[in-house]
Amino acid sequence: MRLRTFGIVVTDAYPGIVIAMLFMCLPYLVDSAREGFKEVNPRLENVARSLGASHWRTFREITFPLAFPSILSGAILSWGRAISEFSAVLVLAYHPISAPILIYEKFTSFGLRASRPISVLLISVCLVIFIILRLPRWRKR
């Protein structure tokens, strides 16, 4: 691993979990963000330019804010997918044990009963985070 030369250890290490999750789940964010940007009417950007806004200002004040809901929902989807990622993490970084792997480990060692509390905890944490992230949009309606 070349990354090791920079002092980054991937296999069986924290960065490994991050990389495995990103690899599996980033496409959800990218895809949804792309759709969001595509939906912004180019005429709005044209008008903004004609009113005196530079490229960068137009992006900052028009394009990005209008695409933001799509980006956010892509990010939430991506995160939801990542938190439960199992296979890629299992291969790349079994240790230091992420939640799904802990569930798997408890299940294989002690059975369903043992893995249940961790599952419930994981689901509850996810639920709370989902609700917090969706809150601003519900309030808008």
Binding site: R43, L44, N46, V47, R49, L51
Partner: protein, 351 residues
């Protein structure tokens, strides 16, 4: 002042071919053309959203062909209003002032002033989605004139509105031109709109400017048959000039109809254009009328268009008269009438 020289641009299915235009300071200039004539592309190229393949754009005496749109000081108004949906009316109007970095307290005052001038002050804190079409277009106008542009480019600004709002906004646009002295370049496919608003009209077809002139000239003296059809000249006859006496030509048109026209042509094949509203129908030959052309015909078709009635005669002529005079004359299918029109109402081009 806008000057366009030899402009070419190819973009998707649209193209501009050798566009030359000159819009004078403070003029209301209308580009009239059917859908798909690349009118929007022309406007967007003048605004700088596209860089032309060839040619130059000049604004107020400066070559701006390579200058980015934010430095051109132009107002742009689209048919779909294009208001920023995530901002309130006030924020929309202030956007241009903020982008131009003028100071905040002055901005507020200026925005207030413009909103009051256009009668939209009560909408200041609403979002565009909650406004009617007419209100949205007024906000778009306010937003465009807030930056005090020297020219305003309008892309079919009234086409999506209901007739009453359209009439009202037409007057508002005139007011913008007259009170603020802004040069207006307005694109439309609506002939009434062009007629009412324009100081001068350019007709655009298939990416080319085909005729430029005063509204009267465009509607009464179209250069060719395609233009004549587009501007609503419904009587287009083929004929041959028989003689010409001091500018009054005698023309034998198809179906054995003889027409007198004011024209310079002395001989040869010609096309004869007569606008349907220039034809007067009567039951008897009008006495004391100065009209040179009197044709007899039988009514074969009546088409009620509300205040106007479109009447087709068996000699091929189409006349447009008021529904009221149709009722007074008691015209119906089969009635024999005389169609009269002046020699000056006939426009002749080479056939």
């Amino acid at each position: 002042m806008i000057r366009v020289k030899g402009l070419y641009k190819d973009w998707k299915e649209f193209s501009l071919q050798d566009i030359n235009l000159e819009v004078k300071q403070g003029e209301f200039f209308v580009i009239l053309g059917p859908t798909g004539a690349s009118k929007t592309l022309l406007l967007e190229t003048i605004a700088g959203f596209y860089i032309p393949d060839r040619g130059e754009v000049w604004l107020d005496g400066h070559d701006v062909t390579r200058i980015s749109p934010e430095q051109r000081k132009i107002g742009f108004i689209y048919q779909d209003y294009s208001l920023f949906p995530h901002m309130t009316v006030e924020q929309n109007i202030r956007f241009g002032l903020k982008a131009r970095k003028s100071s905040a307290p002055q901005n507020k005052e200026r925005v207030r002033e413009i909103m009051e001038w256009l009668g939209i002050a009560h909408l200041a804190h609403r979002h565009p989605a909650t406004l009617s079409g007419g209100e949205q277009q007024k906000v778009a106008i306010a937003r465009a004139i807030a930056i005090e542009p020297s020219v305003l480019l309008l892309d079919e600004p009234l086409s999506a509105l209901d007739p009453r709002t359209r009439d009202y906004l037409r007057e508002e646009l005139k007011r913008v031109k007259e009170e603020l002295g802004i040069t207006m370049l307005h694109v439309t496919h609506d002939q009434t709109e062009a007629m009412v608003l324009a100081d001068r009209i350019a007709v655009m077809m298939h990416g080319k400017i085909v005729q430029v002139g005063a509204p009267k000239e465009i509607f009464h003296k179209p250069l060719n048959e395609e233009l004549a059809e587009f501007v609503g000249v419904e009587n287009i006859l083929l004929g041959t000039v028989q003689s010409n006496e001091q500018g009054l030509a005698t023309i034998d048109a198809n179906a054995g109809v003889r027409i007198y026209a004011v024209s310079g042509y002395r001989e040869g094949a010609v096309k004869v254009f007569v606008r349907p509203e220039d034809i007067v129908l009567s039951e008897r030959i009008g006495e004391g009328s100065s009209a040179r052309n009197v044709l007899r015909g039988r009514i074969v078709e009546l088409q009620d268009m509300g205040p106007l009635t479109r009447i087709k005669l068996d000699c091929g002529l189409i006349a447009l008269i008021t529904t009221q005079s149709r009722e007074v004359l008691g015209l119906k299918r089969g009635t024999e009438v005389y169609a009269t029109f002046k020699a000056t109402a006939v426009h002749v081009v080479r056939g």
